[in-house]
């Protein structure tokens, strides 16, 4: 079963991505609105709005990845089984990549919507802070030596607990909101299929990446353990 997991998810992701790209670029309506005078609203984004399909999807899975990393880190500290730590580490690695996508696409959106490449508005700020915690985790893993797994697990758990505080701290300002009045709920009907297919494809992508990282870490560990046994038995030197 697990042997097939990565190829299956990767293929699903590829298909999903192809379908959603087609939908996004050829089928979904352009976003624009009219103001009272029946002229085109200055806040219409037209083609730039399409970045939203990729930006929001990555954001969903960024936050999920952080949650996964935090919970597996808890599991690792309790059970001390390196397999939990593998999942945490892989999830963070992928989260760093997804986070970078969120920040870059968010920046492009900001340029289109507000004519600045960066704004300290709530969601972007929150994503940046989260991304910094994740990058910190990667640095700790890389440079803390043999105890890196323990220290990084601590950081992931503290980071996860910090997320609600970061959320509360950034408040709600100019970013397209979430919840009942949010972008997701008030999407035009024509946009929904493309959006949700995009979300699902990037979930498959996330899973493919994380599972493949975990498998590769485990394979490395097995090789090392075999080598040790060989050295112990005197078969290797």
């Amino acid at each position: 079963m697990t042997k097939l997991a990565v190829p299956v998810f990767a293929v699903l992701a590829a298909i999903g991505l192809a379908v959603s790209c087609y939908l996004v670029f050829f089928v979904t309506p352009l976003e624009f609105s009219y103001n009272e005078a029946n002229k085109l609203n200055g806040s219409s984004l037209f083609f730039n709005q399409k970045i939203y399909y990729f930006h929001v999807a990555h954001a969903f899975w960024l936050f999920t990845a952080v949650g996964v990393a935090g919970t597996s880190s808890i599991g690792f500290l309790i059970k001390r089984d390196p397999r939990w730590d593998d999942v945490a580490s892989a999830s963070v690695d992928v989260a760093v990549a997804f986070g970078a996508v969120v920040l870059l696409t968010g920046s492009i959106w900001a340029k289109a919507a507000w004519d600045v490449w960066w704004q300290w508005e709530p969601r972007l700020t929150m994503s940046l802070l989260l991304w910094l915690i994740l990058v910190g985790y990667v640095l700790v893993r890389q440079f803390a030596g043999p105890s890196a797994d323990r220290v990084a697990a601590g950081m992931a758990i503290f980071g996860m607990v910090g997320v609600p505080f970061i959320y509360k701290m950034v408040g709600q300002d100019s970013h397209p909101a979430a919840g009942a009045n949010g972008v997701v709920a008030t999407m035009q009907a024509g946009m929904r299929p493309a959006f949700w297919i995009g979300v699902a494809s990037f979930l498959c992508w996330y899973l493919a990446l994380v599972i493949s990282r975990v498998q590769s870490t485990r394979a490395e560990r097995e090789v090392r353990e075999l080598r040790e046994r060989g050295l112990d038995l005197g078969v290797l030197s």
Partner: protein, 226 residues
Amino acid sequence: MTLLRHAARVAWKDLRIELRSREILYTMAFFGALLVVVFSFAFPQDARAVRGSVPGMLWVAIAFTGTIGLGRAFDRERENDTMRALLLAPVPRLAVFLGKAASTAVLVLAVAAVCTPLLALFLGAPLFRFPVPIVLIVVLGAIGISVVGSVFAATLLKVRSRDVLLPVILYPLLVPLFVAGTKCTASLVAEIPNFDAAWYWIQFLGIYDAAFLVLSIWIFESLVIE
């Protein structure tokens, strides 16, 4: 409770050493004062701009001096490996954590007590217009830095690259603390003070401190024992 008594013993040991040599206190306070001077030159001097930048300056000073103080306080336990002796004692390891966090908080507060009047003096900022909320937010900030900082400073004690990793780990995690501190201070020094906002941030920081204290209590032994 014996747990608290042992924690007090550990904290008092640190404070007694510090009172004797005053090494960390002097160096932290001097560093804080230097920061204030540097800020005074780096930022504009007109009253409106000052009101805007003083909260940030105060909390940057607290952030930097706090991290240095943390590092030094735990470095002391590296000389002669006394941390090992503390962890080996039959007291709950939690007591060691609470003791170290308490003594670090006292140090951070002592330095904040130096930096705040200095900022008020050099930059003419009305930091003491409403003493109670300012003291409250600074105390909560000191507690937060000490709690989260002590967990990681203790964890990193024997870890490679610990000097640079401590800020790398701490600063992102402490951002909500610094933002709360800055926003609260800002709403207190503004021309028209906003007490609702100040109170909101004090509560925010109180909950933050409580949440991380509970987490630290659960997780300390797990992280510190190799």
